[in-house]
Amino acid sequence: MTGAADLGTAVEAAAHESTHSRWTRETVESTVITVLKWIGVAFFVVITVFPFLYMLLLSVRPIADLARDPGALLVPFERLTFGTYDEVLRSVEQGGQGFLSFLRNSAIIATVAVFASLLLAIPGAYAISRLDFFGRRQVNAVFLAVYLFPAILLAIPLFVFFTRIGLRGSLIGLIIVYASQTVPVTIHMLRTYFNSIPESLEESATLEGCNRFQVMRYISIPLAVPAIMSTGLFVFMIAWNEFLFALLFLVDKRESWTVSLGLSQLANSTIEVPTTVVMAGAVILTVPVIAVFFLTERLLVEGLTAGAEKG
């Protein structure tokens, strides 16, 4: 097949060579496309990387330098400062912005949300992938529909409810919300992976006398560990980045703020906080997520776009 096509191209190329000059439509368009492609690569690299570079460079600059010359990017070596990080991390009592405690809050919330979400989703995803039961197809559709619902619509009743039972302002309320909101996507990603495990493995375990739960415990889940880890890290990223619910639930209690919320409050604070200090906070907020992302990029991309190639 490929051989024939190659031959075809060769014949066609030869025919073009003999009858026309070199500037056929094919060559002109190919040349233009190649040039455009490299311009495109440069364009996308600049627009995606530059803001992050800018973030880094501003965070190590004295604020006076920025005010004097906002167009300059590079920081002279002797003007380099890490005082911004010191100020943003230090506790409020020590004259800082208290990001260290925000980091702790974010880490607790995100980690617990990951475990809660996985604990709910692993059995659920396994059931949807392997077991035939009443309503199996509908369940999946319902879960995906949940994922499409406006967050702001859910925010109102949850805000009222958690206010009433006194959990607004506590980390637990937020953990419950994050875990339940991520369950649909967690199930979707894990189910795809369970589907890819050959069923014959489980069948032989069944023949050896394992029941369903033993099969799940000793065969399926151990095999799915890589997928479970990458899905968990994905949930971690969502919980770490989340803003709306953190704002609604925690804004009155500074000691419970997450890094996301803390940064947004710092950026809009009425007390003048130097932009470079806030920028250091932005770096602190971003670095863990980018690190997690690069660790899991391949698995994450495959899990998310599973099914997309079918069109």
């Binding site: 075809g8 800018y54 709910l120 059995p123 339940s180 996301s260 947004s264 776009t305």
Partner: protein, 325 residues
């Protein structure tokens, strides 16, 4: 003989095995089901209920979570409030233009990294940065970049491009621009948040389109080549039809999410400068005025409008599909 599947193993225990499986399935799914019901489904139903009640944050303690008295006031309030139509128009423009730009950029990006080249893995990973990074951090970086005093964009514009004044990208409602002698108002702040939206979400479209592109059989392209189709023709008549399904799906998903978008606009402009979309209005009613009933009614109207748009889209879409078939 290979192992037979549990469902078909033996005639005698067949039905019981199936029942067992069904029971196990429901048992495994029930924790998820309970939590999703409690934190998603019931709250949505409750929102419908609240929307017809007079309920304010400050009397939450006395009247409980159900408010008092059936009322249509909240909905009347939504439709008669000043700025409702404007907010709706802003939301529609923001969603349509933002979605189109994000998908367009995503398509271009996917086509660019389709064929292997040196450093492709790194380029591909960097293209996902805007999407995975915390929205608060990137929104802050953008607001500093676009700042009239400290921002690099205005510094560049004034030093290199010769702008007379700094442009307040995130707070200016409208600016008069003269092109070929025709003067017209340009919604500066709205365009800025749309640009941010396109920048932040094109990676999502990029991922899905790239996954689809890589599944297109290479034979197709070669067959087109043999038949003498130029690269542009091969893109238009061979590749694009292959992508139409995933692009349509992305259009629906992105439209829904952009229509409901809150974080981006709240963080960039706070809803000022002509960027007050419906979700910002809901948030202000909830936290600013503490009017829970009005916020609930407003959010139901938002969801209802979204449903109508989607319905129209699918009607229209089903028709064009029939026409082309």
């Amino acid at each position: 003989m290979t192992a037979r599947s549990p469902g078909s193993a033996g005639e005698r225990p067949g039905p019981t095995l199936r029942q067992q499986e069904s029971r196990a399935g429901l048992a495994l799914l029930s924790p998820t089901f309970v939590v999703v019901m409690a934190v998603v489904v019931i709250p949505i139903l409750w929102t419908v209920f609240i929307a017809f009640r007079d309920l304010r944050l400050r009397d939450l303690r006395e009247v409980g979570i159900f408010g008092s008295g059936f009322t249509l006031e909240n909905f009347v309030g939504v439709f008669t409030s000043r700025g409702f139509l404007e907010a709706l128009a802003t939301t529609v423009i923001y969603s349509v233009v933002g979605t189109a730009l994000a998908i367009g950029l995503g398509l271009a990006a996917a086509l660019i990294v389709r064929a292997p080249f040196r450093g492709r893995t790194l380029v591909r990973a960097s293209m996902l940065l805007p999407y995975v990074s915390p929205v608060v951090a990137v929104a802050f970086v953008w607001s500093v970049m676009l700042d009239p005093n400290l921002g690099i964009v205005n510094a560049f514009g004034q030093d290199v491009l010769g702008w007379e004044r700094a442009i307040p990208f995130l707070s200016q409602r409208s600016s008069d621009v003269t092109i070929f002698g025709v003067s017209m108002g340009v919604p500066v702040a709205l365009l800025s948040v749309i640009a941010f939206q396109a920048w932040r979400y094109f990676p999502f479209a990029f991922l899905f389109i790239l996954a689809r592109l890589q599944a297109v059989p290479a034979d197709l392209d070669e067959a087109g080549k043999v038949d003498g189709a130029s690269p542009l023709q091969r893109f238009r008549y061979i590749l694009l039809p292959q992508l139409s399904g995933v692009i349509a799906l992305l259009a629906v998903l992105r439209f829904i999410w952009t229509f409901n978008e809150f974080d981006d606009i709240y963080l960039l402009t706070g809803g000022g400068g002509g960027t007050e979309v419906v979700s910002i209005g809901i948030f202000n009613r909830l936290t600013g005025r503490g009017d829970i009933g009005a916020a609930a009614a407003f959010s139901l109207v938002l969801a209802g409008l979204l449903a109508i748009f989607l319905f129209l889209y699918f009607r229209f879409f089903a028709r064009t599909n029939e026409a082309s078939a």
